[in-house]
Point group: C3
Chain length 140, copies 3
């Protein structure tokens, strides 16, 4: 059982889509896989209660991996699409491209504070494609 | 086939639970998923032979993501539970929330030096919940 | 359905093996898991079009986690196999040990620019072992 979501982004930041996944899942036990089909954005499971957590994660990441015109990033060669191009690939290398979540009776086994996010790393608006796969547990 | 483990932690560090998983697995081929239901601790597969590797990983991580009262962390807004609160979320974003390991005849296909760990990032003691899922290969 | 690939490495860098995986997959729907059985190299899905992306990722990683004889790495205790030993474990902790990719009719649901790589972190040549697992979707 597979599908694909499109998610529109408008600059760096986290976009939650937990509810959309929940709506898609059948009322069965199994394993959910979420896979992002890009190399300059990420998936992330993180706290979805206090929005400050999301802005702090963004603040952290831009400090860890600054734009390619920063002094510490002079070594960067790949600059085809601007100063946020290669840093986006680096951020995407450091964060998940796929997530797996056990499912019971159609409910993801997320903790109380866990939400599922797309994490956009590029400045320009993008339409991102996320592949979903649900493997139902065998009935034995 | 699913279960949940509880793991008690007592400050930042790695707690191995490879053997506990091995005991739970049925004598079949399949795919194991381990999923941690929290946003301030992580799962990790790393070397379990020399304990110095574990203390060095901890030493690295506290230098990469120092407490929120450090000069470099002044940008942090989310401080609800103290100076180790948001840094724990950042560490959790950088390390796995779920692990998948192929299984043959009930044995995880781990390499010689690989162990499965919970990585606690918070100072206060916590009881952590880890969901396990085993999908047996179909008999064809 | 499981197998194991051997991949020879010759110093730090990315080695693509997307085509080898594609050749192994059966013409079915399902979920692919790729798992590296080591603690000093990684798996990574990243851009495979411009080779500069790969060299920039390597340049980034050696700056983030420099050799153990660097001033910032004096805290390192585990030095059994030289100055690239513990930094390789740290890099391996920050990058994936396993990847999951949905498969449709034998084709990985990769995006246009995504390739599957082994990322070697050690200086000395190694033969690396990668376990593959394919779980076909049930025919219902």
């Amino acid at each position: 059982m597979q599908t694909e979501f499109s998610i529109d982004t408008n600059g760096p930041g986290l976009i939650e889509f937990t509810a959309r996944i929940a709506d898609w899942l059948p009322p069965r036990d199994g394993l959910l896989t979420v896979f992002v089909r890009h190399t300059s954005c990420s998936l992330l499971i993180q706290e979805n209660a206090d929005p400050d957590v999301q802005s702090d994660l963004l603040g952290w990441l831009v400090r860890l991996v600054p734009p390619a015109d920063s002094a510490s990033m002079r070594f960067i060669t790949h600059r085809a699409e601007g100063v946020d191009d290669m840093p986006a690939h680096i951020k995407a290398a450091h964060l998940p491209v796929s997530l797996q979540i056990p499912v019971q009776d159609g409910r993801m086994r997320l903790g109380t504070w866990q939400g599922v996010f797309l994490f956009e790393h590029r400045e320009a608006p993008h339409t991102r494609h996320v592949a979903l796969h649900f493997a139902p547990d065998p009935v034995e």
